[in-house]
């Protein structure tokens, strides 16, 4: 993007955008511009770029057309709509109203505070010049020229920045511990292994250079000359853009030897994860980088003392690094003025599940869950009732209705039995069964347990079995107490961070939704009508038109009836697959 261009077209090419057809839309614009008539009309005044995600992926493909200072945003754009946008808006000068976003889109944005994500969706992530145009790499240059490593550490400490990976350890303090170790070699690692919906793909896809700049600042502060980005292979687009960004940064001398003409050398390599959740744990991540099974080890020694290849190593998460250029540019006072007493700055939150405006948002620490779910998220779709928000990923907990006004920060979430994690929030409505949710997360945590210590390996398995029993109608009196006892033991006696929080989903759902457990155990009923074994399907004779669609779709032939007469389900043959419930156009199939 260059300044003299009068018209700029930005097409969302984040993962969400690409899934919805962002690549094809971008190509359609390029093709349209290449047509001779259009080219003669607009000449070289117009540019078209793919940009990262700007958050509201539910409305993809989003397209911005900027004429002079005026930005018009379009939603749900598909390739066949492009010619109208080009003819009417770009050439004709009249925006196409029926494709434009509504007021709610602007509300979605205006209630947020974008710092880390500010340039995502505004700049082309594959062009280093786009990042330079918004002041990129100037902070690291100034830092290298005017500040000592210790001054950087003190500044970061003063800003109050805490690790965005979940535990919230103060970043500056961690750096100080690492820097004071005497060593010939230190390493810095960017942990981009987040599995739950989070900031990683969006940040790296949308603004990879900000992560590189942040890592360079960190490396300078602790005296590391080598960095690694440990990223999941499930994010191919992010990996590709990061590779490109690292190459471009090397070409310009922002990575490599004597960065910005200083005596500081630093380079970054990418390490692809191989699909193990536990590798988000620092010591497991280090084992994985050196090509071993990703099993955690006892701490201390902490990685800041003995990390990668036995050398002092700092591991911070992607969002933490992306915060750094902003903190150094605007100062620690500015940063610590945002947020709550104990948690400073903003937090990126992946807001998903049963919510209208599913997407990636950034809000100041201290924003309440109500504001996040209802004001920004637009509430629950389909007229359903809110039940809870599951925060913190598979090891997190749920926050029920009664805590909707809870200001979100590290301490508050922990106080109500959940956690920040990487900042995911999955909104659940009345049709979600909390026992089923707990079992789902337990199944995940159990499968991801590395197997090193028995409490986690065996304990999570037993928890899952008890939960399965409850869901299948085999729940017994005393099961709830047993679940709680066992959870406490696992949390007390596990070695690493995964085991210590793995039972969280169970403890948290029992804390707030004990009545749902009791309904399953005592009355063999699933109030949310999710647990299949506890359901019975039947057809309401007054609503059934006898069309026969359900009977045709039933895999076990349990539905019988004469054409145009009400049908019946033979409950003894029914396998409760729900196919009839899904296919009935007259809502005549009910479950109870």
């Amino acid at each position: 993007m260059t300044v003299e261009n009068k018209i700029a077209v930005h097409v969302c090419n984040g993962t969400g955008g690409m899934v919805a057809g962002g690549g094809e839309v971008l190509q359609a614009f390029k093709d349209a511009f290449a047509e001779s008539g259009v080219k003669a009309e607009i000449g070289d005044r117009c540019s078209v770029n793919g940009v990262g995600c700007r958050g509201l992926c539910a409305r993809e493909v989003l397209v911005d057309i900027t004429v002079g200072d005026e930005v018009t945003t379009y939603q749900y754009i598909q390739p066949d709509m492009v010619s109208r946008l080009v003819e009417e808006h770009i050439i004709g000068g009249t925006p196409v109203e029926e494709f434009m976003v509504g007021k709610d889109y602007h509300e979605f944005l205006s209630r947020q505070k974008k710092i880390v994500l500010a340039d995502c969706g505004r700049i082309d992530p594959e062009e280093i010049d786009a990042y330079l145009d918004v002041g990129g790499y100037s902070v690291v240059e100034k830092t290298l020229k005017t500040m000592s490593p210790d001054e950087v550490i003190q500044l970061v400490k003063k800003s109050g920045l805490r690790g965005r990976g979940g535990a919230g350890f103060p970043t500056g303090v961690k750096w100080e511990l690492c820097a004071k170790n005497k060593a010939d070699q230190r390493y810095i690692i960017c942990n981009s292994d987040e599995g739950d919906p989070g900031a990683v793909p969006t940040l790296i896809e949308g603004n990879p250079h900000s992560v590189i700049e942040g890592m360079t600042i960190g490396a300078y502060a602790i005296g590391a000359d080598m960095g690694f980005v440990y990223i999941r292979t499930e994010y191919p687009l992010a990996v590709e853009r990061l590779k490109k960004a690292i190459d471009h940064a090397r070409e310009r001398g922002f990575l490599g030897q004597s960065i910005h003409g200083s005596t500081f050398d630093f380079d970054i390599r990418i390490k692809l994860g191989a699909g193990a959740f536990v590798c988000g744990e620092e010591t497991a991540l280090i084992s994985s980088i050196v090509g071993e099974r990703g099993m955690p080890r006892a701490k201390p020694p902490f990685p800041a003392d003995e990390g990668l290849w036995g050398k002092p190593t700092i591991i911070n998460n992607t969002e933490t690094f992306a915060n750094l250029p902003h903190i150094l540019r605007n100062g620690p006072e500015w940063y610590s003025s945002i947020g709550t007493e104990t948690s400073k700055g903003t937090k990126i939150i992946a807001l998903t599940g049963k919510v209208r405006n599913a997407g990636l948002i950034e809000v100041p620490m201290g924003t309440t869950i109500r504001e996040i779910v209802f004001d920004i998220g637009g509430g629950i779709p389909d007229g359903k009732l809110f039940k809870a928000v599951q925060t913190g990923g598979p090891c997190g907990g749920c926050v029920p209705q009664e805590h909707l006004d809870l200001p979100v920060d590290y301490e508050n979430l922990a106080r109500v039995g959940s956690m920040m994690g990487s900042g995911s929030m999955v909104v659940l409505d009345e049709t979600d069964c909390m026992v089923n949710m707990a079992a789902f997360f337990l199944a995940f945590n159990q499968a991801e347990s590395c197997g090193k210590c028995p409490p986690c390996r065996i304990g999570t398995k037993r928890l899952f079995e008890i939960l399965t029993g409850i869901m299948e109608g085999r729940g017994r009196k005393g099961d709830i107490e047993l679940l709680l006892d066992l959870s406490a033991d696992i949390m007390d006696s596990s070695l690493c961070g995964l085991g210590m929080v793995a039972p969280n989903p169970v403890v948290s759902t029992i804390r707030y939704f004990r009545h749902e457990y009791e309904a399953h155990i005592r009355h063999k009923r699933c109030p949310a009508k999710v647990c299949r074994s506890l359901l019975t399907y039947f057809i309401r004779a007054d609503l059934c038109r006898g069309c026969g669609v359900c009977a045709k779709g039933c895999p076990v032939g349990a539905i019988t009836g004469i054409k145009k007469e009400p049908h019946r389900i033979d409950t003894s043959a029914c396998v409760k697959c729900g196919a009839c419930y899904d296919t009935c156009k007259f809502n005549a199939v009910l479950k109870e």
Binding site: K271, K354, D432
Partner: protein, 153 residues
């Protein structure tokens, strides 16, 4: 092992011979070359590099990404992340298996055309539930939509 397979392995070997801690990278490259990790490639590599085969297998069985059985021409993977779960991904998975007549522990169709798997979060939670068909992500899926998709293939 066939000559062409050995040539491919030689290339991978040369790529990593000098790099520390590259067991995972080697296995990732073998898998992208052969679509799974054939047993004889592990033994070939083990002999050539002096790294015990048990070490390779330790890594292979630890990480979810590696496959030790042949996979079909088309790989259909439903996401089993939390958001896709809430949005009904399990029903898509079961429908797929039913449609392709997969029974018990079977995950590849008898004719080798399709493999049905579950994958962890793809980071596209905003368009959940997602299904990954041959590395391309499809969002806002339903059991019926995926069946239509297969019939097209």
């Amino acid at each position: 092992m066939e000559e062409s397979a050995i040539e491919k392995l030689e290339v991978i070997y040369d790529r990593y011979v000098e790099t520390e801690g590259s067991v995972i990278s080697v296995l990732q490259d073998i898998q992208s070359e052969f679509r799974y990790i054939p047993e004889d490639t592990v033994y070939w590599f083990s002999e050539k590099s002096g790294v015990p085969a048990s070490k390779f297998y330790g890594v292979i069985t630890f990480y979810g990404q590696f496959h030790t059985k042949p996979r079909g021409e088309n790989i259909i993977a439903t996401c089993c992340g939390a958001v896709c779960h809430v949005k009904g991904s399990e029903r898509i998975f079961l429908k797929l298996r039913e449609e392709l007549s997969l029974r018990g522990g079977q995950d590849m169709t008898a004719d080798g055309r399709f493999t049905v798997e579950q994958v962890s979060c793809q980071g596209a939670c905003n368009v959940a539930p997602v299904v990954v068909v041959n590395d391309k992500i499809y969002g806002k899926m339903s059991p019926n939509k995926i069946v239509k998709q297969i019939k097209k293939m």
